[in-house]
């Protein structure tokens, strides 16, 4: 038996290596996903090194309150200020650069929380089934019956508007998507032969969940994670835009667009460039997610 186990394991290792090679190959075949990966890499880089990249980090509130320079307000885009300046004379490019940090942090927090709650709920509901499973999934359905932005609005109310509370509000409405995804996978995987087989060998429930089922739901979760990063950033910016997220003068993209709207159409650059940043970030995650969806051959929505 032990030689058989060894053989199975080495074979599994081989298969994993083989499929990793396959995935890398198919990923390279898809230039758009490489573009997406490039955009995201760039964003992460900018977020980490923002103080060194931005020419006027103090304008974005780095090490203190955002600086003001009223003499220089509403400067048009120029070499000195490629994205122009705002109503307090702050360099919009520097603020957009720092905004990367807020959006990425929001996306990461929301999805970490959502996956942390949603995956266990889905696993339990799918694997245990019965009354508990049904109850959990009905609860999930109810959450899913309201558009996320609207539900997030409702949750955001009793909490005072702030970036932190916007994150909490979005996270609270996001987990059901993962619960449903995992639930669906578990139910279909549960009946498959290899799980039946390991049950036959006498594997425990926990072991089956962690060794057989979780690896199988990794692919769809990875794809959904990438696509959702973009979507969470969109919703976060939307809350900021409505005045329910980060408050001025925080250089959060959605908040900046809302501020700039008061100065349309004359100071068009104020709203335009932060929006461009959102667009790029979301595009990056969408391209990557779509590429992963093709490569890993899963359909999630």
């Amino acid at each position: 038996m032990s030689s058989l186990t060894n053989w199975v394991q080495s074979e599994a290792m081989e298969n994993r290596k083989e499929s990793a090679r396959r995935i890398a190959y198919r990923f390279r075949q898809n230039p758009l996903s490489l573009v997406g990966l490039g955009i995201i890499g760039g964003l992460v880089f900018v977020a980490i090194f923002a103080p060194y990249i931005a020419r006027h980090p103090q304008d974005a509130g780095y090490m203190g309150e955002p600086a003001v320079d009223f003499a220089n307000r509403f400067a048009e885009p120029s070499l000195a200020h490629p994205f122009g300046t705002d109503q307090a004379g702050r360099d919009i490019l520097s603020r957009v650069i720092f905004g990367t940090r807020y959006s990425l942090a929001l996306g990461l927090f929301v999805l970490t929380f959502a996956i942390g709650i949603g995956v266990p709920v889905g696993l339990v509901a799918g694997y245990v089934g019965g009354f508990v499973g049904q109850a959990l999934m009905r609860l999930t359905d109810v959450f899913l019956s309201v558009p996320p932005l609207v539900l997030a609005l409702a949750v955001a109310v009793p909490l005072q508007p702030s970036l932190r509370n916007a994150m909490i509000a979005i996270a609270v409405v996001w987990w059901p998507w993962y619960a449903r995804l995992v639930y669906g996978e578990v139910v279909s995987v549960r009946e498959e032969q290899f799980v039946e087989a390991s049950r036959g060998i006498g594997a425990s429930r926990l072991r089956i969940i962690f060794r057989e089922i979780l690896p199988n739901v990794m692919a769809p979760i990875t794809v959904k994670f990438s696509l959702d990063m973009g979507y969470a950033i969109l919703i976060g910016a939307g809350l900021g835009f409505l005045g329910l997220g980060a408050q001025p003068p925080t250089p959060e993209w959605g908040t900046m667009i809302a501020e700039g709207r008061a100065y349309l159409p004359a100071q068009w650059w104020y709203s335009t460039f932060p929006g461009l940043a959102i667009f790029l970030a979301v595009l990056g995650f969408n391209l990557l997610g779509d590429g992963l969806r093709d490569v890993l051959d899963v359909e999630v929505d």
Partner: protein, 339 residues
């Protein structure tokens, strides 16, 4: 199982979802930190005033009683008094909802009417220029923040080119209110000037709203079209002499439309969400403004009302899509409730 029983089954399935939704919203509004009465009156109000408002809102009762009271009221058209407008929330919603409904309906129609052909063109020319262009557009469409796209389009078409009005719902005297839908009311009143103006005002916001779902629908139509086209029955029908065009536009289209429908249902929810943002940009006098104002003023009854209405619209939209799905794809009718 016939189509009729499928429709009935589906409709009944919507009821528990509605009840669950109302419980959820109600609980969220009550359980989350913060005292609605205190929030409504602000930190400087006296303790007595807060107490009496609490009494008035029934906040001392157990939450189950509060919920049942609310539901009992709901069925009589009473959704509580809005703290900002001092009117019944039901009356407020009745006033604001038609504008939002008109916007999202026209938006969704634009998305479907443009998105499906776009997807078909892409799917038929897989990996060629048309396909790549349409896929690129799809990526751009879903990645653009709706409120930003709204501002850009506003800058271009309204401020720069001056082709369309930038904000508002109508530029002339509004026709008498019957349905609250400006396009319908103006036609009923045979006031074509008003119709033209309403349409012009509606065009930009509706199109902006349509962008993301249009892109999504195109993407889904493309992939399901390609998938269907590679199925055995396409070859089988072709080999028995049915012309390729008929196979593509009758057999493949109908089969692939079923999966496009599921995406449409999901997109409808996202569309309602973006409507909240778009209405602000275009100063559209709909429910979103009302909702956002309510949120900023901590007007709890109005918030529950708005969320509930949005939820109901979403549930109904899903129901309609499910029924259409069953119509287009007989397989669904024989499946279980899952899927």
């Amino acid at each position: 199982m016939g189509f009729k029983s499928y429709v009935i089954r589906r409709t009944l399935a919507g009821i528990p979802v509605f009840i669950g939704l109302s419980i959820l919203i109600f609980t969220l509004a009550r359980v989350l930190p913060g005292d609605p009465a205190r929030l409504a009156l602000g930190p400087r109000a006296s303790e007595e005033a807060v107490q009496s408002l609490r009494e008035e809102m029934g906040l001392h009762d157990p939450i189950v009683v509060q919920y049942l009271d609310y539901m009992a009221g709901l069925f009589q058209g009473d959704m509580g008094i809005s703290l900002t407008t001092n009117r019944n929330v039901a009356a407020d919603l009745l006033y604001f909802f038609p504008a939002t409904f008109e916007l999202i309906t026209v938006g969704m129609l634009i998305a479907i009417v443009l998105g499906i052909p776009l997807g078909i063109i892409a799917g038929q020319n897989k990996d060629e220029a048309e396909d790549n262009a349409s896929r690129l557009f799809a990526f751009f469409g879903v990645s653009m923040p709706a409120f930003w796209a709204a501002i850009l389009l506003q800058l271009l078409f309204a401020f720069h080119l001056g082709l369309l009005p930038a904000t508002g719902r109508i530029g002339v005297e509004a026709p008498p209110r019957i349905t609250g839908l400006m396009l319908v009311d103006s036609l009923v009143a045979t006031d074509f000037e008003a119709f033209r103006s309403a349409l012009a005002h509606l065009l930009l916001p509706a199109f902006t709203l349509a962008l993301a779902p249009m892109a999504d629908i195109a993407r889904m139509t493309r992939s399901s079209f390609i998938e269907e086209f590679n199925k055995d029955y396409v070859h089988a029908l072709h080999s028995s002499g049915i012309p390729g065009k008929l196979i593509a536009y009758k057999y493949v289209l109908k089969a692939s439309f079923a999966s496009t429908l599921t995406i449409i249902a999901l997109d409808y929810g996202f569309l309602i969400g973006s409507a909240f943002l778009i209405e602000i940009v275009f100063a559209w006098p709909g429910m979103a403004r009302y909702g956002v104002d309510a949120i900023l003023a901590n007007d709890i009854n109005a918030i529950i009302g708005v969320t509930l209405v949005v939820g109901v619209v979403f549930i109904v939209a899903n129901l309609v899509v499910d029924i259409l799905y069953g119509y287009f794809d007989p397989r669904v009718r024989y499946g279980g409730d899952e899927e």
